[in-house]
């Protein structure tokens, strides 16, 4: 089983080295691919110094476009399993065992680490952002027919089926919400795994207040219109 870690990073020169080191500490045989989304700083160089492959995008594509670059790499290089870990250090690679377990056991095609699946988690965020996250979680849960608590988590493990789907088709901008529904519509199996996430160790989140309003409108529009699309589902016996 060939495994790859996909790490999207935008101006993360202060965090990316530690993230790559922690991924190698989790599994020394894991190939680490850092997708540098047009950073102005030394993100790509630092990633290479720490033994990762760095894919440098010529300009900023946003999280959707950069993560899909990683999925394309994983698909074309024939990886069986991919994990996705954010480049800002908020995901602890030591928790990858829990996220990987249902995928390695063949139970699901994609497993997503959720901050909110476990009770009593200390994740702090602004009130409006929590309300937005909760509303999206409610809408997505209704559509996919199971409880989804964390629709914006980028802490994921995927098998070859899910890698192939995302290499071909992945949403733009802030993609995880739409991707959850995409997975459901393509009849892939998914599950949430409770994890805890760390506070960002340095730098700011790329989501500002005005952007999150635009994001909500855009995502709800995409979800609504997406309900009227037809999707290819895997043929019998391919999985």
């Amino acid at each position: 089983m060939r495994r790859v870690a996909i790490v999207p990073a935008f101006n993360e020169e202060r965090n990316i080295g530690r993230v790559v080191d922690e991924l190698h500490a989790f599994d020394a045989t894991l190939d680490v691919v850092v997708v540098d989304d047009g950073s102005y700083d030394r993100t790509a160089e630092v990633a290479r110094e720490h033994g990762a492959v760095a894919l440098t995008l010529p300009f900023n594509l946003g999280i959707g476009g950069s993560v899909q670059t990683g999925f394309r790499y994983a698909f074309e290089h024939g990886y069986d399993i991919a994990v996705r870990v954010d480049g800002d250090g908020q995901h602890d690679p030591a928790q990858l065992d829990a996220v990987l377990a249902p995928v390695l056991a063949g139970q699901v095609d994609i497993a997503v680490g959720s901050r909110f699946a476990a009770a009593g988690d200390g994740y702090r965020s602004s009130r409006s952002r929590r309300a937005g996250i909760r509303m999206l979680a409610w809408v997505v849960s209704k559509i996919v027919g199971r409880r989804v608590t964390d629709t914006t988590s980028g802490f994921q493990a995927l098998n070859r089926n899910a890698i192939a789907l995302f290499a071909r088709d992945y949403p733009h901008d802030y993609p995880e919400v739409e991707a959850t529904i995409l997975v459901h519509r393509h009849k892939l199996r998914s599950v949430e795994v409770p994890v805890s996430m760390r506070e960002r160790s340095s730098g700011r989140s790329s989501i500002t207040a005005l952007r999150s309003v635009y994001y909500m409108v855009k995502v709800l529009l995409a979800i609504f219109v997406g309900l009227f699309r037809r999707y290819a589902t895997p043929e019998e016996g391919t999985s």
Binding site: P58, H172, K218, L221, A222, F228, R229
Partner: protein, 126 residues
């Protein structure tokens, strides 16, 4: 007062606009981020066409007394300008990115070209 026929015609046309935009998104010929401004335009035009008192009030604000539907045209033109301006910014970004892509491609080809010439020299000396 806005004539009833103008109101109905305006409403039908703006609802059609919204439906066409939604169908373009559904069939993936239009990305959501470029559709939002069109949808806002459609919704504003539906409201102003169907809500005749509202149109009268807005016409009053901008000093149109004789023929309130003129306010509908004014709003319509304003939104078309907004969409065009938005597209100008999009085109500017795309052309800047296109330059970067062309430059990257030239650099990549130069690297590959020097690799190829190195290979051919090693094979010819053999």
């Amino acid at each position: 007062m806005t004539p009833l026929f103008v109101s109905i015609a305006g409403t039908v046309a703006s609802v059609l606009l919204i439906l066409v935009v939604l169908e373009l998104i559904r069939s993936r010929r239009l990305q959501e981020r470029y559709a939002i401004l069109w949808l806002v335009t459609g919704v504003v035009l539906v409201v102003l066409s169907a809500w005749r008192d509202g149109l009268n009030t807005i016409a009053g604000w901008i000093g149109i007394r004789s023929y309130p539907p003129a306010a509908l045209f004014a709003v319509f033109i304003l939104f078309i300008l907004l969409v065009l301006l938005h597209y100008s910014t999009v085109i500017s970004r795309l052309s800047a990115q296109n330059v970067v892509l062309a430059q990257k491609l030239a650099l990549l080809e130069a690297e590959r070209g020097s690799d190829a010439s190195r290979e051919s020299t090693t094979s010819s000396t053999r």
